[in-house]
């Protein structure tokens, strides 16, 4: 991935080569320096600080008080919202990501059919993705309005009964509402565009060969399209899961984590502990646990990917 020869290797080398090399390295670091500083100031430094804070009690007013593993013990044994919020966050991600992958792939295949007006359809599918999350939470809040919203009106008309979900104000339905909202933004978004490009990259010969072998539509899809798209599926899946696990603004604006903690996502839990209760040490411990879980989960996906992702350019 990162083995590019640079200029000086091809020019006949004079005696002051080492000098040139050093010069190149120095210049490289100079161009890199904004990011190097940024990583130290805004990423690694803060990470170490929050790592340290996670072993303390810190209420912002008094200096941090070192308490060892107490925060972690409390999180795992006493925190009533820790496990539920963790589980709920994963459940959300494990529903939203597969559904939006299937949806995005279907949409991409539809757009790949050379229909007239494809550019228009693509734009219509993509627009929800552009809507700011806050605006989308506000407008879906209105569409899901239990009393006068259009969705419930249709549900009542179709079922003929007065019972319709309470959506964002009903603990049993709030999560479904958020999932629908997320899918609306995700299906036609970047995922779809990346799939579309992936589809165009599948060599036509493979389909022709499959047809010669007597493959129908399904067989072509199953044995040509899917295997050739596995790298794209993997890329979209990893990014999708990371994004879904971090969900915050949508829930915060649409449901405030409620009702009855039904949408109390992990990020909301951290936020509340840190910026409502000002338990900075405790919240840092929560954040580090989250980072660890996310890291392990992503690592496992990369390990697993060797079994099912096929890279056409790779030599076995």
């Amino acid at each position: 991935m990162t083995t590019e020869a640079t200029a000086s290797s091809r020019i006949p080398l004079p005696r002051w080569t080492t000098n040139l090399r050093t010069k190149e390295a120095i210049a490289g670091y100079i161009f890199l320096s904004p990011w190097l500083l940024g990583i130290i100031l805004f990423i690694i430094g803060p990470m170490m600080t929050s790592g340290f804070l996670s072993f303390t009690r810190y209420d912002v007013v008094n200096p941090p008080d070192f308490v060892g593993l107490k925060n972690f013990i409390e999180i795992f044994t006493k925190d009533r919202l820790f496990w539920p919020s963790m589980m709920l966050t994963f459940r959300y991600a494990l529903i939203v990501v597969p559904l939006s992958l299937v949806g995005a792939l279907s949409a991409a295949m539809l757009l790949n059919q050379a229909l007239r007006g494809t550019a228009w359809f693509r734009t219509f599918f993509f627009l929800p993705h552009l809507t700011p999350i806050v605006a989308s939470a506000v407008l879906w809040g209105w569409i899901f309005n239990a009393d006068v919203g259009p969705i419930n009106h249709w549900i009542r008309t179709i079922t003929g009964s007065d019972n319709a979900p309470g959506w964002f104000r009903d603990p049993d339905w709030a999560m479904t509402g958020l999932i629908i909202m997320a899918m609306w933004g995700a299906i036609g978004g970047n995922t779809m565009l990346i799939f579309l490009a992936g589809l165009q990259g599948v060599p036509q010969e493979l389909y022709d060969a499959a047809v010669v072998d007597g493959a129908g539509l399904w067989a072509k899809f199953r044995n040509v399209t899917i295997p050739m798209l596995t790298p794209t599926i993997f890329f979209n899946m990893v990014l999708g899961i990371i994004g879904a696990l971090k969900v915050f603004a949508a829930a915060f604006v649409a449901t405030q984590g409620g009702p009855a903690y039904a949408t109390w996502f992990y990020a909301l839990h951290i936020y509340t502990r840190a910026f409502q209760y000002f338990e900075m040490g405790y919240a840092s411990a929560l954040a580090w646990i989250f980072f660890f879980v996310l890291f392990v989960f992503t690592y496992v996906q990369f390990r697993q990917s060797r079994r099912w992702v096929y890279y056409a350019g790779e030599v076995d």
Partner: protein, 308 residues
């Protein structure tokens, strides 16, 4: 638009199939198949567009009309004055300016420094380069909460709370890992011979960057700028944590504040119709920018996915 260019790649295959005869079932089935595809495309477009249409229509109604039962589609008399009214009851103009200011300045910083860093990763050899690049990529996975708490404490200590500095200054330090990755990938696709030719003519590193690589990278720079602008415009968590004064709000937190108070009627009616108008006004600039930059943007997004 690019979609047609993309789609046209498949057209040849269509004509390659011989319709064996007009009455033969194969071509008939194909026509039915096409019909179903159009039906699916049109109805799913309608589903995707419905929330927008509903919001725009609601924004043009009188406040009370929103609470009619059963709900009505069209406003009785379109209330275009709802839009100026938003500016009266909340500091909408100020918030729009704040969002624009923060988004433009931080986009400038992020794109410029991401290009420099991408140049460094793509064209220079130095110790630990590949390790640093992998570290860069893995920061994409880091949950913001891990760094947010210490950053908050740090910014509080140096008196940056309730200013735009926490939203803007970090952008001048490389922007984001994603931008750096995007720029690096693009620079790698430019033949190194160009750099060498310039070097032989006596150009230095800065000149090669500025006069050779950057002019060739206008599409990707535009993509990077548009994507950064959009994400800054939409950003919720940072301004929410770091800004307190109402007049300093950006649109994202302003609209949330508006939503929280819209239900409480201080005169005769709740203000949900105005809230809908506000959502439209927050979304419209993003959609306009998308239409202007559409061609570049799609390429850029696709590039980030394909070469990964």
């Amino acid at each position: 638009m690019a979609g047609e260019a993309i789609a046209s790649g498949r057209k040849q295959t269509e004509s390659g199939i011989h319709p064996a005869g007009i009455f033969q079932s194969a071509s008939f089935q194909r026509a039915i198949g096409r019909g179903i595809l159009y039906l699916v495309a049109i109805s799913s477009s309608a589903i995707f567009m419905f929330p927008f249409v509903w919001t725009v229509l609601s924004s043009l109604k009188r406040g009370g009309e929103l609470f009619r039962f059963p709900p009505t589609w069209l406003p009785e008399v379109p209330q275009f004055q709802n839009y100026p009214k938003v500016f009266e009851i909340v500091s909408w103009a100020t918030w729009t300016w704040n969002s624009t200011f923060v988004a433009i300045v931080s986009t400038f910083g992020a794109v410029l420094t991401a290009a420099l860093v991408g140049y460094s990763f793509a064209r220079f050899r130095y110790p630990a380069r590949d390790v640093l690049f992998i570290i860069t990529l893995s920061t994409m996975m880091l949950p913001v909460e891990v760094t947010l708490i210490p950053l908050y404490l740090m910014f509080a200590k140096i008196g940056w709370l309730d200013t735009y500095r926490p939203l803007i200054i970090p952008s001048f330090f490389g922007g984001s890992a994603f931008l750096i990755f995007l720029m690096r990938q693009f620079f790698l696709s430019i033949p190194i011979d160009l750099d060498e030719a310039a070097r032989i003519d006596g150009a230095g590193y800065v000149r090669i960057f500025w006069q050779i690589l950057m002019p060739l990278s206008i599409p990707v720079t535009a993509t990077a700028a548009v994507l950064t602008f959009m994400s800054q415009w939409n950003e919720f968590l940072y301004p929410f944590i770091f800004l307190n004064t109402k007049t300093k709000y950006t649109l994202a937190i302003g609209i949330r504040y508006f939503q929280a108070v819209a239900g409480f009627a201080d005169d005769t009616e709740p203000k949900y119709h105005l809230l809908m108008a506000a959502s439209v006004m927050m979304t419209a600039p993003i959609i306009i920018i998308f239409f202007l930059a559409q061609r570049y943007l799609v390429q850029g997004i696709v590039m980030s996915g394909i070469k990964g």
